[in-house]
Symmetry: C2
DNA sequence: CCTCAACTTCAACTCAACTTGACGTCGAGG
DNA sequence: CCTCGACGTCAAGTTGAGTTGAAGTTGAGG
């Protein structure tokens, strides 16, 4: 097995070295150290990083990814089973994300159709259920409102 | 026209008062002040806030929303034209977002189908174009990688 | 008139996912 | 042996969308 420096991994994965070090602190990837304390990554790290970026695109946070990747070996090719488990999970994630957006779009389309400027009954303004989970961060309040926007001007 | 206190708007829109003040500093909503310097919002603010939350769900940032809402009157019902312009814009936003996710899902499905553990040619790991724009914040590096993950272990 | 919840401002904190900078060390080529 | 770029650590900064707290003011009900 040959080992890659952090710079090589960065170049080949398109991820900055700072990000790789950051991933390592989060336990997403792992390295050996040389005598001189430099990181050396196993080749399989390239795949791991690719998986991380792909996972982020699917909307997963780094901690969720850490969860998911913890079942994959750090230093060798994952088995087909590993890979299928992962991709199935991501696929269903994508499926539900798509479903949510489609629902939102359809509601919006109806809104345009009905021209309901009152918004009193318009579904889009009375969310009902968690169509949230789009975008990270301080989105935690979005979707937990219970009060509706009734009796509009 | 009767005016609402910040607390009333918060209760009826399901948005915290702190968020409402924050929106006001960003120019998303506007208020009159009482003699005692308290905010009083026009009723139309309820709709504005609803639009803001809906817009966020569609993936718009507050500054983009400020842009969009600046053409709507702060204190009265928007015209049908206003409303149609807005919802058309959001619909196309949703459409492209959906398209991106669907593309990603299809690629992933192919990956599972082909069982390509090598990831050498797998489309999902060689993104190619900006399917990013999921989630806010320091996502600015995602999608500007040019190097591919070739020659896997 | 008094009280108390609801309001005011302002600064500081949160969170995720990193980046940037300072300052110091490693190691391959000449 | 020297140099210079690539590496190391650690602390602090960034962005977006707010929240939290302190300290003080307002205003409706009793």
């Amino acid at each position: 097995m040959d080992w890659l420096t952090i710079g090589e991994v960065a170049r080949r994965s398109g991820v900055a070295t700072s990000a790789l070090r950051f991933y390592e602190t989060k336990g997403l990837i792992a390295s050996q150290r040389t005598d001189g304390n430099q990181r050396r990554y196993p080749r399989a790290t390239l795949r791991r990083v690719a998986l991380i970026r792909a996972g982020q695109e699917v909307g997963l946070s780094l901690s969720e990814l850490a969860e998911a990747l913890q079942h994959l070996p750090h230093d060798k090719t994952p088995t087909r089973i590993d890979w299928e488990r992962l991709s199935q999970a991501w696929r269903s994630r994508l499926d539900s994300q798509i479903a949510e957006l489609v629902a939102l779009r359809d509601e919006l389309t109806d809104c345009i159709g009905c021209g309901c400027l009152s918004l009193t009954s318009c579904a889009i303004f009375n969310p009902g259920d968690a169509a949230s989970r789009l975008g990270t961060g301080p989105r935690y309040l979005l979707g937990d409102s219970r009060d509706s926007v009734a009796a509009d001007s």
